[in-house]
């Protein structure tokens, strides 16, 4: 084959050589295409696999770690939670609405292929500044797509996060996470066992859309790509809803061995991955595949990424019942092949074999690259920036208002009011708090969910930034009273062939792993998105952590708002002079520099335990973690969320701006009834955690003074209005 042909498909000369070696012959066109998508970064993890091995993946409560379509964690009473996050960055950059919509569709399929009923979705977005109309278009489109798809499915969008930084202008990030609930006995693995079993295709027809999407996701976005117009996937949430209900019925009736959605790399990946997991092969007859368009070639059928399709391996004799269920749901169901014993993926068309390759060769023999790693030179410059000579703000009230209006800190209501966050009537705490809380019907328990990441920290120190992402996610869960159980993650990075990016990637995974170990939240799955670059410029390294936690008693779910006059406000943890990488530095001083805050994982763990214990003991009226924007923003948010003011009196030798805006880790604000205060302080002493009573709830203003001097006094109305109206005003253009 001409090198030009396979190179265009994304294979290197070396990789093509490996394919020839494995097959002992030249691959034909169809086979080359199958290898190209399966050996793409997106499917083959060829640049990340060795690094991902660093993640801790085990705990007694982990029922399924990485390797399946989604992770599974035990929550007691024979139930488990199923969850996973995935990127849809590249499609969203081209067509944000459909890109984000199909991102939701894909991740939800990953949940119900495990046999679970999806119960909630979350998302994580990274965009360039909203002052730029293109970024507004991307934001409106991505949010519109997410809401279109998840609302139609009847899945609540219970949490999410979004950050705006110039680094994402050319390359926005759209990560979607889905969560499901399952009985242990229903857990299904995507395996094609049972020689002779029917392989069935259900759902939407196959069209030419999205061919080579997996490869596309494994390349840098170029300016010409928009002109090339790679086929964008188009979502049909209505069909997905039918598919979801039909699949769950099929699973309830125990009719299948396994199933997998035809997502990235379509029919190719779903079939060969299921076969490889079971050490079997498959024979598929493409003439039987339902098509949307005429004249499709075997290559196109094998690589199409048309949405809302599922591949099932039926149990013996189950075919008719599966067909009947699908018919009832208005879906096509067709047997397109059978499981074979020889480990070969044999693809036929019009009686001819058009491809025959070992399933394992596609999935397991993908070359793995240990990329050269080099610490980027920018780090010395940014980390060693002298921050001590920055002027203090003249007016702290004005500084706070400016910060709270910055889109990274302002209210995200513009986004979440477009998404149905109450569907399924389990949402006890929806978007807007530290973490979402869902009750689990029929039990007294609750699930807590969050998604977190800070690309700026990771840019300044990927190791520490990675660790903080995990720590902060766990802290968010602890603040609602939940015990963190496990994480899923999406690793959004630049081109891993660049030693600097490979270094960032490695460091971030090391940091995340360290935090996961310390906090006992193993990794159950995730997704890697490389090549997030425009014109050779990589985005900030942006690992996103999705975490689930369990509340033993839903009645103890804790909010973040100050709501009761005279409640005492306690700050747990210590504030240091750490403004590196802070919002304060970026917004007030227009600087992205310094080191991100230190993270002491032992301290972190102890603080979180304390918060959970105090909440479980009923001692806490509100808890809120101090994160981006520091103590001042945390206070402002608690005041706004609860609709009640506060008077804060701080004593410290730190510079006032450091004290207010440092993003020191492992700090939590608590509001407690006066009667509970001493017990909380005693508990803190016992655990060796600094705890300071810093003020009282009450009134209709937030007043903060330091060593007797009032730094600012802002009315609740002004704070709230500034915070609430910022993003809507920007979006209005």
């Amino acid at each position: 084959m001409e090198p030009k042909v396979y190179r265009q498909m994304g294979l290197t000369d070396y990789e093509y050589g490996r394919i020839k070696e494995i097959l002992g012959r030249e691959p034909n066109y169809v086979e080359t295409g199958m290898f190209a998508v399966m050996w793409s970064e997106h499917c083959g993890y060829k640049n990340s696999r060795p690094v991902l091995k660093l993640f801790p993946t085990e705990a007694p409560w982990v029922l399924q770690g990485p390797g399946e379509n989604a992770g599974v964690v035990d929550i007691g009473d024979g139930q488990a939670v199923v969850f996973k996050i995935e990127s849809h960055n590249h499609p969203s950059a081209i067509e944000p609405f459909q890109g984000a919509a199909t991102g939701v569709g894909g991740i939800v399929r990953d949940i119900f292929t495990m046999g679970a009923r999806p119960i909630a979705v979350l998302n994580s977005l990274r965009l360039g500044p909203l002052e730029n109309p293109r970024n507004r278009y991307l934001m409106a489109g991505a949010v519109g797509g997410i809401s279109f798809y998840s609302n139609c499915l009847g899945l609540p969008t219970v949490a999410g996060e979004v950050y705006f930084e110039p680094t994402y202008s050319g390359n926005p990030l759209v990560n979607a996470m889905a969560v499901g609930l399952i009985e242990h006995k229903d857990i299904l693995r995507a395996k094609a066992s049972g020689i002779g079993n029917d392989v069935m295709y259900i759902g939407a027809r196959t069209g030419r859309d999205g061919i080579h999407g997996a490869t596309f996701a494994s390349e840098e976005l170029s300016m010409t790509m928009e002109a090339q117009q790679p086929a964008v996937p188009v979502g049909d949430p209505f069909r997905e809803k039918l598919l979801l209900e039909a699949c769950l019925e099929i699973i309830k009736e125990d009719l299948i061995i396994g199933m997998q959605d035809m997502g990235a790399a379509g029919l190719t990946s779903s079939s060969c991955e299921m076969a490889a997991r079971a050490v079997t092969g498959m024979e598929l007859n493409l003439d039987l595949v339902p098509r949307r368009e005429e004249g499709m070639t075997p290559y196109e059928i094998m690589l199409s990424e048309s949405q809302e399709r599922m591949l099932l391996v039926a149990k013996e004799g189950a075919r008719e019942r599966i067909e009947a269920i699908c018919r009832r749901w208005g879906l096509e169901a067709v047997v397109i092949g059978r499981v074979t014993s020889d480990g070969i993926m044999r693809i036929k068309e019009k009686g001819r074999v058009v491809a025959a390759v070992p399933a394992k060769a596609l999935t397991d023999q993908c070359p793995v690259y240990e990329r050269e790693r080099r610490r980027p030179s920018y780090l010395d410059r940014v980390q060693n920036t002298d921050l001590s000579s920055l002027p203090e703000p003249e007016d702290y009230g004005a500084a706070l208002l400016k910060l709270i209006a910055t889109p990274n800190l302002a209210s995200k209501e513009w986004i979440y009011r477009q998404c149905d966050y109450m569907a399924r009537t389990d949402t006890v705490a929806g978007p807007g708090g530290d973490a979402a809380v869902l009750r689990i019907k029929g039990t007294g328990k609750g699930l807590a969910l969050t998604v977190d990441g800070n690309g700026r920290y990771c840019y300044l120190d990927p190791e520490r930034g990675g660790a903080i992402a995990v720590a902060e996610a766990a802290r968010n869960l602890s603040c609602v009273g939940a015990r963190p159980l496990a994480i899923t993650n999406c690793l959004n990075f630049g081109n891993p062939e660049k030693p600097e990016v490979a270094w960032q990637f490695y460091q971030a995974v090391v940091g995340m792993s360290r935090a996961c170990e310390a906090l006992q939240t193993p990794v159950t799955g995730g997704n890697v998105s490389f090549y997030n670059e425009t014109e050779g410029e990589a985005i900030y390294p942006t690992p996103i952590v999705g975490m689930v936690g369990l509340l033993a008693d839903i009645k103890h779910a804790c909010g973040s708002g100050f709501s009761r006059e005279n409640d005492e406000i306690i700050l747990l943890g210590e504030t240091h002079a750490e403004i590196g990488g802070s919002e304060y530095l970026a917004v007030i001083h227009s600087l992205v520099a310094g080191e991100p805050p230190q993270l002491d994982l032992e301290r972190e763990k102890a603080v979180q335990e304390l918060v959970r214990e105090a909440i479980a003991a009923g001692l806490v009226r509100a808890a809120h973690d101090c994160a981006e924007g520091g103590l001042a923003i945390a206070l402002a948010e608690s005041v706004i969320n609860g609709g009640l003011g506060a008077r804060i009196e701080l004593e410290s030798s730190l510079r006032p701006d450091y004290l207010l805006f440092s993003e020191s880790q492992s700090r939590v604000l608590l509001a407690v009834a006066p009667a509970c205060r001493d017990r909380v302080l005693a508990l803190a002493r016992q655990k060796g955690i600094p705890a300071t009573v810093i003020g009282l709830c009450g009134g209709s203003a937030l007043e903060v003074s330091l060593n007797g001097r009032v730094l600012f006094n802002l009315s609740l109305g002004e704070l709230e209005q500034t915070w609430r109206e910022s993003i809507p005003a920007l979006m209005a253009g």
Partner: protein, 236 residues
């Protein structure tokens, strides 16, 4: 009293309604499949929220032709209680069981939020536990809830006191700012002239437990049960 909750392809509020009636109000309730043609034995039919047929073309337009709809129409014409919530309301409009039509929200976006509703007519099976003018809190979640009727029909609706719920501010004032979707006269829910078919965009089934932020929806659903029980004991 027995409830039937109709499941259309793409409905997604049926489990929420079922939960509210079964677990919270402790009333017998069944799912009814859109392909069925028999609704006998039920005292109240609920058309739930969701995206029947994806709400493609127009919300509720395709569902209106589901086989079960002929039975629903017969049931309603015979005086049976029918409650259409959100997408269910849209289907009732498309089916001509209630007057008017839905346009896209005037903000052109889907809206999920709590709203305040003023109860305008308490002499209905669906609102009799409320006080006239009472302000209740019920969430909405829709993209096409901008209710439209021509001026003549609106006048008729008002004259017959068919407007049951109106969007208002927390103090009960009916203002433009309190209108989340642009619907005429801030209409959130209407009833037919005979008083047995109610359609509303807000979602009562989502506020039947304090754990989820409010329970005014429970009062609304309990109204239906009360009404039916009164009617039946009178009749007996």
């Amino acid at each position: 009293m027995k409830f039937g909750v109709i499941v259309f392809p793409g409905s997604n509020g049926e489990q929420d309604v079922y939960h509210a009636l079964d677990e919270v109000l402790r009333q017998p309730v069944d799912y009814l499949w859109h392909g069925d043609t028999d609704v006998s034995g039920y005292d109240c039919l609920v058309l739930p929220g969701g995206f029947s047929y994806g709400n493609y073309l127009r919300a509720g337009a395709i569902a209106r032709f589901a086989p079960i709809m002929s039975a629903v129409i017969d049931f309603a014409r015979a005086g049976g209680l029918v409650l259409g919530i959100c997408n269910g309301f849209q289907i009732l409009l498309e089916a001509g069981l209630l007057p008017g039509a839905m346009l896209r929200n005037d903000c052109l976006q889907f809206r999920c939020q709590w709203t305040h509703l003023r109860v305008e007519n308490t002499a209905t099976p669906f609102s009799n536990r409320f006080r006239q003018g009472q302000v209740i809190r019920v969430p909405i979640a829709h993209g096409e809830g901008n209710y439209y009727v021509d001026a003549a029909t609106l006048a008729e609706l008002e004259a017959n006191r068919q407007v049951v719920f109106r969007y208002c501010d927390p103090s009960g004032k009916v203002t433009t700012a309190a209108n989340p979707n642009g619907s005429v006269a801030n209409i959130a829910g209407i009833i037919n002239r005979e008083g047995n078919i109610l359609g509303m965009m807000p979602r009562p089934e989502r506020c039947v437990e304090e754990l989820l932020g409010g329970s005014d929806g429970r009062e609304m659903l309990a109204s239906v049960v009360d009404w039916w029980q009164r009617g039946n004991s009178n009749g007996a």
